[in-house]
């Protein structure tokens, strides 16, 4: 039971990191990034491949964040000139491109067969290692959350929120929105890359089918349920997402013998979707309230 809870905690924390990245990009700045999973994947593969070459884990984790941030740079340069809706489409395309590249570059990623035997954090599969991993990722979440809070309440935060509200007006006042948007893209992607590294070294096996667009949209759901533009909302929303995803497993006990395993998986997804619909209907500002009501 402890192992199960630790596992849920670690995956929830991975989603906290992903959601914090989106909170910075969309919640504060208004950038619609539908390709978050691409940066998550880059971080996961970067850290896994480096670690398997014998690179120490702290270094491979840092590299994961750096690779994701660097990947965001050219994408930002090109895509940030586009209108908001086109930007969303380009990022979605980016996420899928990363997945396709991982699938086809077999020499590097072993394609659909995936990479097994990735070194785990704290060297083991026992409960102690899982708890230590949980502590490490919780610490990473806390540091990231505090950093985001500092940003949100700073002059930088004021400018990115101004971008979200009216970019043209900001230009008229002598600020260059592109510079800020690029930094936000890179920093948010670094968080996704870091999340990927934790994920890779916890699951210990990577394959392209783990990096489908659904991952991006789970993070979006977490953000919306928690409260868009709130750092605390990202944390609460990711926890809530996990509650729905895992809680619905137990639906099976309520519907004994009526549904098959496959039907159950669809039911779970349906339940999560229903939760999101109910949230947007009855609590559109999210659990923690969003940036419009402070």
């Amino acid at each position: 039971m402890e192992a199960y809870l630790a596992a849920i905690g670690i995956i929830a924390a991975v989603y906290v990191l992903l959601t914090l990245g989106l909170t910075l990009q969309y919640g504060l700045t208004g950038l619609v990034n539908f390709g978050h999973v691409g940066f998550f994947a880059l971080g996961a593969y970067a850290s896994a491949l480096l670690a398997m070459q014998g690179v120490p884990l702290p270094v491979s984790f840092a590299a994961a964040a750096a690779v994701a941030a660097i990947a965001a740079w050219p994408l930002g340069l090109v895509a940030l000139r586009l209108r908001e809706d086109y930007f969303a489409v380009v990022t979605l395309g980016f996420g899928e491109t990363v997945r396709l590249a991982i699938t086809s570059e077999r020499w590097l990623t072993n394609g659909v067969q995936g990479i097994p035997g990735i070194p785990r954090l704290f060297g083991g599969v026992g409960i102690e290692a899982a708890l230590a991993t949980l502590a490490a990722i919780a610490l990473a979440c806390a540091v990231a959350a505090l950093m985001l809070r500092r940003i949100a309440r700073s002059p930088f935060g004021r400018v990115i929120e101004a971008i979200r509200d009216n970019e043209e007006a900001l230009k008229a006042l002598g600020k260059d929105p592109a510079r800020f948007k690029l930094q936000v893209m890179m920093l948010g992607s670094a968080l996704a890359g870091l999340a990927g590294a934790f994920y890779a070294h916890y699951i210990a096996y990577l394959s392209p089918d783990q990096f489908v667009p659904l991952v991006t949209f789970y993070a979006w759901m977490a953000m919306i349920m928690g409260g868009v533009g709130r750092v605390s909302g990202a944390v609460v929303g990711a926890a809530l997402l996990m509650l729905f995803l895992e809680g619905t497993r137990f639906l099976r006990d309520l519907l004994p013998g009526l549904v098959s395993e496959v039907e159950m998986a669809s039911l779970r997804l349906g339940a999560v979707g229903l939760a999101l619909v109910l949230f947007t209907l009855f609590r559109p500002q999210g659990l923690m309230g969003d940036y419009t009501r402070r």
Partner: protein, 253 residues
């Protein structure tokens, strides 16, 4: 030390919005531009502030040509515009709107933010004090903590002016500062503009409200169909036969 607009043209499709427009004013002067709808006033503003490129002609400030600079770069040189329909940062408070406009803040740099917190905090205190001064001057202090989206139309116009002031302007391009503003506030805004102009800040003002504008500015230019018909002292310009025909015909005469 002047703003020089020379032979500026701009077309949209087949429509010639600006047709070799030339205007000149001292950078610390006060010039009004009037004209009927579609005369090209707003296009002129967008070209001068760098939001729309001109097809031909040149805009320069103090002899430096601005034609290749974007809006942000022009604003940093002191040429700051406002918008006809206020573009407040609606989720930020009035105070935050003003503080966001202050130039050169080291807290806008992520490295500065995390590695020089002392300097950032000291600058923030100065920026907050400057914002307070602007709010006192424009009588916005009572709504300092309100999200800007909840202000009245007139208050939003004042906020637009306030933000421009925070950006350390030399010359402010005001786009219809009196549109949709009640008569009392019109007087108020006009008085503030006069006061700021006396302190050395220039104003180029587009306006529909001919009465208010001709009382405010010593020089007036009249535009019609993309051209400048006449420019000079308000009384002179308004007496001009072409102006009366083109613009005032059925409206004021």
């Amino acid at each position: 030390m002047s703003l020089l607009i020379r032979d500026v043209s701009r077309s949209f499709g087949g429509f010639r919005a600006l047709d070799r427009v030339s205007l000149e004013m001292p950078a610390d002067g006060l010039l009004g531009v009037i004209g009927p709808n579609g005369a090209g006033k707003s296009t002129l503003f967008s070209v001068v502030s760098g939001f729309i490129p001109a097809d031909a002609g040149t805009v320069s400030l103090d002899g430096r040509t601005l034609d290749r600079l974007g809006p942000a770069a022009r604003a940093r040189l002191g040429l700051v515009r406002t918008f006809q329909v206020p573009r407040e940062f609606h989720h930020l408070t009035v105070r935050e709107n003003l503080m966001a406009a202050a130039p050169g803040q080291s807290g806008e740099n992520l490295l500065g933010l995390f590695f020089r917190p002392g300097r950032v905090a000291a600058e923030e205190a100065l920026t907050a004090a400057a914002a307070q001064d602007v709010m006192d001057f424009l009588r916005l202090a009572p709504v300092a903590g309100l999200p800007a989206g909840r202000l009245s139309g007139g208050q939003k116009k004042l906020l637009e002016l306030g933000r421009a002031l925070m950006a350390k302007p030399r010359l402010i391009l005001l786009d219809e500062p009196f549109a949709g503003v009640n008569a009392v506030l019109v007087q108020e805004i006009a008085a503030r503009i006069t006061e700021l102009n006396a302190r050395g800040i220039g104003f180029l003002i587009i306006e529909h409200d001919l009465q208010a504008l001709s009382r405010l500015v010593p020089r007036l230019a009249v535009m019609d169909r993309g051209r400048v018909l006449a420019a000079g002292a308000p009384a002179e310009v308004l007496a001009d036969a072409r102006v009366r025909e083109a613009y005032l015909g059925g409206v004021v005469a």
